[in-house]
Symmetry: C2
Subunit: 416 residues, 2 copies
């Protein structure tokens, strides 16, 4: 029988009523002839409660945060959240007359690295599951967890249940991996910014990766990477409706021919420029090494051409990391390691990106973007491009206007 993986996130299993609602969707697929593996997250709020206790237990009373805790114990505590939901989902399915059993990471087993808290799945042994499928028993699997070679419980890090789902879909040879969540699909842009935002029927892995990392927080980036690597067809669907959602798949399966699939944005960006930097070999490393050490997540980097041995370097980072970045640069100048004349910071910028695999075959996409922004008198401060994406920084106050203008320009409200 064809197999299907169905994953339900925390808000979709927040209480017994919601678990029952999710189970109804599982039953529908079973009735349609699938062998189903259900992957569940912890009830929403539970993981935070457990993490809070771990933090509290790890600090001496009255002391400042020590930052230290044993990640093996963290994993064992936190993985209990999915253990509870897996059992409850199995019971709910049984109550509906479905033959189902729960599987914990160590029972499958889901073999992972020993990097507790951020473990990677190395192998899923499906023999036991296969045998139970053959007997007609559907599987409910605790997401987010596995077992290390040392026999300890591991977790995959936040959002790891998506990764669990995709890994099982690959290992079980599932026809599709349905990710049920509290949104009903992937949109051309944020519907709160323009009512014209349209739900996409299909989107390619590459586009989804760009959209996810740009702030369209629907799927965990790692799960999309894994789906792409194993060609797992991934559907984003709502737990609270019966709409088909958005299918994330190979670009050959994407029928729509819009040049651009979506407009993404990131609101709280900052831009820092170092002026008249002495342009010697290794100057970039001299700037970005200290930034990395200071924990600054540098996003865009632009270096202008050198004039008479001097250059300007501009980079962007989240606005709440500006203080760290400035200190790292000032320290570098004070120690003589960095020779720049002045530093200019701009904490009032936002990033707007257009994403689409159609760009590869269509010239002039970037210039259409710039013209559309120009017509609205929006000044572009920084530009970067990749194969399927063009990103610009603009003043934050223009964010909504820019997104709307680009959505209109590329007619994203119409299916291609």
């Amino acid at each position: 029988m064809p197999r299907l993986v169905m994953k339900f996130g925390g808000t979709s299993v927040a209480d017994i009523d919601r678990i029952r609602n999710a189970a109804t969707k599982v039953k529908r697929e079973i009735d349609a002839g699938y062998d189903v593996a259900v992957i569940v997250s912890a009830m929403s709020g539970k993981t935070n409660e457990l993490v809070g206790w771990v933090d509290e237990a790890s600090v001496a009373p009255g002391a400042n945060r020590s930052g230290f805790f044993d990640a093996r114990e963290y994993d064992s505590v936190v993985a209990s959240g999915e253990q509870v939901t897996a059992g409850l989902m199995a019971l709910t399915l049984q109550q509906m007359g479905i033959d189902a059993r729960s599987w914990l990471g160590w029972q499958v087993p889901v073999k992972t690295s020993s990097a507790h808290g951020v473990a990677r799945i190395e192998e899923i042994e499906t023999e036991a599951l296969d045998a139970r499928f053959a007997q007609g028993t559907h599987a409910v699997i605790a997401g987010f967890q596995g077992i290390s070679a040392e026999g300890r419980i591991t977790t995959l890090g936040r959002g790891g249940s998506d990764t669990t789902a995709v890994a099982f879909a690959a290992a079980l040879g599932a026809e599709r991996c349905d990710i049920y969540t509290d949104v009903d699909g992937v949109y051309t842009t944020d519907p709160r910014i323009t009512k014209k935002a349209r739900k996409l029927d299909r989107i390619s892995y590459e586009e989804m990766l760009e959209l996810a990392s740009l702030g369209a927080k629907v799927l965990q980036v790692r799960s999309v990477e894994l789906a792409m690597a194993h060609k797992v067809r991934l559907a984003v669907r709502s737990s609270f409706s019966d709409e088909p959602g958005t299918l994330v798949c190979d670009e050959e399966e994407v029928m729509e021919s819009n040049v651009i699939s979506g407009v993404a944005y990131s609101r709280d960006e900052a831009k820092i420029t170092l002026l008249n930097l002495k342009d010697t070999p290794g100057v970039a490393a001299g700037v970005f090494g200290p930034l990395a050490e200071a924990g600054v997540n540098v996003d865009m980097i632009i270096q202008n051409i050198s004039e008479e041995g001097f250059t300007d370097i501009t980079f962007s980072c989240p606005v709440d990391q500006v203080a760290r970045a400035v200190k790292a640069m000032e320290d570098g100048k004070a120690s003589g390691a960095l020779g720049y004349e002045a530093m200019v910071t701009d904490e009032d910028v936002a990033k707007i990106s257009i994403v689409g695999i159609g760009m590869r075959s269509h010239a002039g996409v970037a210039s259409r973007m710039f013209e559309a922004l120009s017509r609205e008198n929006i000044n572009i401060k920084v530009i970067t491009t990749s194969e399927i994406k063009v990103s610009v920084l603009v003043d934050r106050k223009y964010l909504e206007l820019a997104v709307q203008a680009l959505h209109d320009e590329f007619e994203l409200e119409k299916a291609g």
Copy 2:
């Protein structure tokens, strides 16, 4: 190094402050030179929350209780409570500078029968624990749980963490098993009934079993049986004080020479008499078979001598089971299986018991009991005796008076 097992119940690990308080007691024993295995229950309230969810998931919405659920899933859900506490206790000990790790039932492993929900420990493999003790790592063990031969999580039933503790004390050859709870020991009787009630320093296994099953709810009966079988010295101590508590041990270790160790009571008893029952072979089975089938927990049984082929049978049971018992008897009479003339029920009785290994060597203990009650004009309705116990049923209104009179008669306020 000598080993010690320390078990903390739900109220002793109800939040991080209490876990820290318990950890302080563990540290004191480690500093005193012990290798310690800490057994933990779930945070108080958590098990009930989990059981509530299981019940809810197992019943169709709007339906009456179905009574059915998959005990394997129940166990997996409910065992998560101890998993959380074990990790948090390990983290707390680490924060205090102690080398500790948590162990779940399946990690040790604690091998049990497959009777989910009421599993019995068959074997504890201590090799891995022994190896870690040798490296200086103390153990924190999730109580109440094990693993079946099928690789599923099992639980030992309510109060099972006491049993886990005693089983580990036996398997590890521990010098003592300290059960930390919210009372500070075993008393000669309920201190709410008489202020003269005195905490016992020591009590024998046999006496503790009689007191526990009679309603002095300090230790689970099974854990005392197991301790007796393996000669595990068991201490009942308070989590909220540093008092030494009560040691439950072999009678040879009990120094006190009081004839009686304690006065126990059970408030809500009922007495049912079948009059002029036709005395044929198998008559007792004809009475008590149907009662067992009806789920009536029969306690005391008295059959008077037969006169002219007829006899009277009296039995006691909890007052809330009287309706079931009466129906079973009436059904038996209606079907002709049971031939009795009349049935008399008395729902206003209480059971008072005196318990003491000293009875074995002292004659006249029972008559002292009857005389003491007689002096207070308390009528005795039923008497049963065992080797170390005498129990009587009296009108419920005399319960306090009877306990006080017997406590005084045997001078239990004085250490022997």
